[in-house]
């Protein structure tokens, strides 16, 4: 099982995410449009940050930039102490191994069972035997409460179960940063809240920072900090709530 990180080290450790003066544009020439303007954001290890804002304001773009899925154009993005500005394709791929991602749709591999899907996460860990990685996958499924559904294909799981498999898969790679894009969008009220609470507690145990984009007002209270975005600008970071 993952080892919990002592809380004392969190505050003085280097931040998991440090964004400074980030600008980003889509399109070129006359249709060029700025989607992010002078964004600054810091996330400490173990911190859960929720990002809200109207759709189309650039939240998802910020997420893809922090997640090393897109090339940074201007400004500094340091993730897990690595600068993403000017990074190559291979650098970004290596950094992504340390970032867990949970998507709006669950994005599970349809041809793999729940257990095999989670193992696709633990397979990213170096130096472990097949058996160790499989046991890890099983433990994570147990941690999200799906020990009875390990051999099922995604097709046979409910929406909430699929999202929990996706969480287990993201955490099985032992990430130090977790990015989630509206993980509750496809879920009903109760399952949505359960899934996010589970995500929060498991991430805390791991000392893993979380940046979650959401529209869902019912889950705002799980955040250590709320960040709002409008028209490509971050504004009014509310004072930290006690999580």
């Amino acid at each position: 099982m993952p080892i919990s990180m002592p809380m004392a080290t969190l505050s003085d450790a280097t931040p998991a995410v440090a964004v400074q003066g980030l600008n980003h544009w889509y399109g070129r020439g006359a249709t060029r449009r700025q989607v992010l303007q002078a964004v600054d954001l810091r996330i400490q290890p173990g911190e859960v940050v929720l990002l809200t804002g109207p759709s189309g304001c650039g939240k998802t773009t910020l997420l893809t930039l922090v997640g090393a899925l897109r090339q940074v154009m201007e400004g500094s993005v340091r993730v897990l102490d690595q600068e993403l500005l000017g990074s190559g394709r291979g650098d970004r791929q290596r950094i992504r191994r340390q970032i867990g991602m949970i998507f709006q749709g669950h994005n599970l591999l349809r041809c793999l069972t729940a257990e095999q899907n989670v193992q696709m996460g633990s397979d990213l860990l170096p130096g472990l035997s097949y058996r160790a990685r499989r046991d890890l996958a099983r433990e994570w499924l147990r941690a999200v409460g799906l020990e009875d559904h390990m051999g099922k294909l995604p097709h046979d799981l409910s929406g909430g179960q699929k999202q929990r498999v996706a969480i287990a898969r993201a955490l099985a790679a032992e990430p130090r940063l977790l990015l989630a894009d509206e993980p509750t969008a496809a879920l009903d009220r109760r399952t949505g809240r359960d899934v996010v609470l589970l995500l929060q507690s498991l991430a805390r145990e791991q000392g893993c920072a979380v940046l979650m984009v959401t529209h869902d007002p019912r889950i705002l209270d799980v955040a250590d900090r709320l960040v709002q975005m409008e028209d490509g600008r971050l504004w009014s970071a509310e004072p930290a709530l006690v999580g």
């Binding site: 998802t60 997420l63 893809t64 997640g67 899925l69 897109r70 291979g90 791929q93 290596r94 950094i95 992504r96 191994r97 340390q98 970032i99 991602m101 998507f103 709006q104 749709g105 994005n107 599970l108 591999l109 349809r110 041809c111 793999l112 095999q116 193992q119 696709m120 996460g121 397979d123 990213l124 130096g127 472990l128 035997s129 097949y130 058996r131 160790a132 294909l153 898969r169 790679a173 894009d181």
Partner: protein
Amino acid sequence: MSPPLPWRERRIPLAWLLLIRQPARLAVALAGICFAGILMFMQLGFRDGLFDASITLHKLLDADLVVISPRTMSSIAMAGFPRRRLVQVTADPDVVGTTPVNWNQLLWRNPETRTTRSILTLGFEPGDSLFLPSALGDQARLLTQRGRVLFDELSRPEYGPVARWMKEGRTVETEVAGKRIRVAGLVSLGASFGADGNMLTSRETFLRLLPNTPPGSIELGLIRLRPGADAAAVAQRLRQRLPKDVAIYSKRGFEEFEINYWRGSTAIGFIFTLGAAMGFVVGCVIVYQILHSDVSDHLPEYATLLAMGYPLRDLLGVVAREGFLLAILGYLPAWLTGQMLYVMVRKGTGLPVQMDSQRSLVVLAMIFTMCMASALLAMRKLADADPAEIF
């Protein structure tokens, strides 16, 4: 501390699971590969079978060297040369025996249906050795009586139920080239593309059946050398000594001469090779279609794997492994079906089509090339998997 390499390297068999968890698509892919493989097996089998069948008789000849006319193009059109040449050959100290042979196509009348069909007829002196002992035994003596023939029981059935009647003890008489003959016995030689059936007789009977043949003319001369003689050197000596109205070949050279005729002077080799190439192309198209749509369908999943930090190399490996697995899974049924069809062809046509290891390997290589080339093309679609698009 880390576990041994195979265990460290072992991963979820993604390619295998992608294939078997979509049984309908897998079935279509395998049917396509199997079809292509069978087509290649059949076409190449026919081609090699034809080449092989064209020398069914050649292989049985009891000879170290062979004399034919330089005007002869192939066994279906043997030109004559003076028999004297074969007598001259015996002057060489290494030559221990010769057999003059008449070789021509005659019209055989089916004793049951009375229809006629051309049959390859070989005339030789019953006292001479024509075939290796295994093929003829001591049946040659049955030909000493005039008007007697030995019938090849492996001839196509259109010649009539001669073998069956003979085994039932009936006397089989029929007409060859308009003259009455009696079947004195059966031999096992084999049909070929050039000849659907074979018949042996004495030179005396042969000349009676074909009275226009000059008595001093033969189409084939067999030369046997003393054990240990250098066949190539003797052939070289004979070529220098004999006039240019004969050509000397080793037995193997004579077989190649015949095969080269079928290969070069007819379109057969080209046609069957083209047929095999068609199978290859059809297989390529099918496998490419399958792999391409497979990659397209799973593009979001591949993008997810990229987002998780899997390198593109791993995904290319998945597609390559899919191609590899398809090749193996498609080849096995193709090989088995090919084997069965070969048996049917052998029974139906008497052609010596065999599943030899060389052709098995050729088709295996073709199927692998087909699947891996298709996989390589399908990989280009993976470039569309953009992890930035999945949020």
